[in-house]
Symmetry: C2
Subunit: 326 residues, 2 copies
């Protein structure tokens, strides 16, 4: 574990255990099977980044509410509901080093359990009795489903532009991190300007996180990642490292890259050669620089806030998004 991750984890140990407790308490399934399938994904060692962001945002605004961790878990439920459907859509084999839910319990169970976890998220959202938060969550569910549909539609498209890529990652990732930060600020009765600042922080952080995630698929090793690297490529999913490299490639280089991408069963040798090409053509560096720029914007957005332990932690989380290994 990196020093930064260890530092953050030791600082937020109390928040994390409150989140774990609320995750169990609020799932409350009537159906045993729904509880079991939901638990398979929910309690398999997620980072709890989204609920943590919500709590830290609220505390950084000075909130002393005691019900924060209860509402925070709605973001983990929303995240889990989309993961369980996305893994099915992508035919993913593993998630967090364990077999994906649809492999263990079956595709029908995964579809319906995703629906159930989303429903729990919605009920918690309604319990906030705050229309701005309800609107935020509704907007997120719309954006995420459409982002995933668009990503599916884009599969195998070698002419995907950087703008189209940004559109998809905004919808599938950034809106949720933004929503967690905005909700924290709303629960703390922050002014519209304050809410907007947290929205900007979360949005940029989300863009950076997804870019870092897309980088890891080319640079991480199997053990750290909990799944085989190269998954995006095998699924025909073009991400920024490849999009940028293709734009810079000579016709010969492009032909070489397209040949690897055309064969979902590519060898690890072919994959390494492609990663090498992404490096020499600047795809890796460009993606890292883009992610860094988003992190800088995220941190800038919090400048208006007074100093606090939670503000410091949010800034550390922003730094962590760039150096994480999984």
């Amino acid at each position: 574990m990196s020093d930064l991750k260890a530092k953050i984890l030791s600082e937020v140990a109390d928040e994390l255990s409150a989140i774990e407790r609320e995750l169990v308490e609020n799932l409350s399934p009537w159906s045993d099977l729904a509880g079991e399938v939901a638990g398979h994904l929910l309690f398999s060692g997620g980072k709890r980044l989204r609920p943590l962001l919500m709590i830290l945002a609220a505390r950084a605004c000075g909130s002393e509410r005691e019900d924060l961790s209860r509402y925070a878990v709605l973001f983990e439920y929303l995240h889990a509901a989309t993961l369980i459907h996305d893994d099915l859509v992508d035919e993913a084999v593993t998630r967090r080093g364990k077999p994906a839910a649809h492999h263990v319990y079956g595709a029908p169970e995964a579809v319906l359990t995703g629906d159930f976890i989303l429903a729990r998220c919605l009920s918690l959202t309604a319990q906030t009795r705050n229309f701005a938060i309800i609107d935020e969550i509704c907007g997120i569910t719309e954006a995420m489903s459409q982002g995933e549909i668009q990503q599916l539609h884009n599969k195998g498209r070698l002419d995907l532009s950087e703008a189209e890529y940004l559109d998809v990652i905004e919808r599938k990732t950034a809106v949720l991190l933004k929503g967690a930060c905005v909700t924290g600020a709303l629960l703390a009765d922050q002014s519209p300007e304050g809410v907007e600042a947290f929205g900007r922080f979360g949005w940029h952080l989300g863009m950076a996180f997804q870019m870092a995630d897309d980088l890891l698929d080319y640079t991480a090793d199997l053990e750290a990642l909990g799944k085989e690297p190269g998954a995006d490529l095998r699924e025909g999913k073009l991400t920024l490292p490849v999009i940028h490299a293709l734009a810079k490639a000579s016709p010969e280089e492009r032909a070489m890259m397209e040949k690897v991408m055309a064969d979902p069963g590519f060898t690890s040798g072919a994959f390494c050669a492609l990663v090498e090409k992404l490096k020499t053509l600047g795809g890796i560096d460009y993606t890292r620089a883009s992610a860094e720029a988003h992190v800088a914007c995220a941190k800038e957005a919090l400048k208006v806030l007074p100093q606090s332990r939670e503000k410091e932690l949010l800034l550390l989380v922003a730094d962590y998004s760039l150096e994480r290994k999984s």
Copy 2:
């Protein structure tokens, strides 16, 4: 078309065209693919029963609001979202006489489009700015997903009890019809007693509708039904006609019925023999009588209401639930 259906349809022609218009206007997809897949199911000739119930309930309470049809479509979206996932879960081949969405567009598209349509339902719900309605819809999404999971879990279980069957049909069908009626009453600012009466009407109507639906799977012909009869049996889904007949069967009759049910590829001859057995053992009559009892309770619930065109229509819809052919 039956006289009753024709009478209802001619009476509600204005409401139905308002519903069709709002269904198109409120879907507003950002992604073309999401719009196309959603449209495949949404605009394939559904009865629009749920939005119609909501409008009639509100009008029967004296509401003259002009935004009723706009909110009413949230119930059609919710219904469509569950249908698209259920057809996938049940591996259904056709829906309303057309190939099911997952057969035309693929399973991943069906999963994500179901999520998208549900998200549109939620956004419309939030726009009512009425917490009682928001709670109602959240409760429905929870109940429906768990009802479907339980139904999946019960597949192939020959010892399913009538109580377990009732539990599932309440969650998968009755809560939604109840929710539509309750929401109509809430939009009309009805008193808690009035809301409760509409809740009882919708719940009993929903139970009757599902029982009638389960009967049709044994008694309707292919053309009227828009899909092959016997689908429930082929999927290992025990419904009331079979549950009741099994409870009355002699060991020999039970063995004969179980033999048919054990083979999902049963011939139409075997199916007819089974239907004959359901009749002689009283499974058909008992289910019809149960549905009739629910219709009587539904009508009873509306006794507190003053006379109105809309009340008459709601009573006609209740009668229609028993005599429909598809």
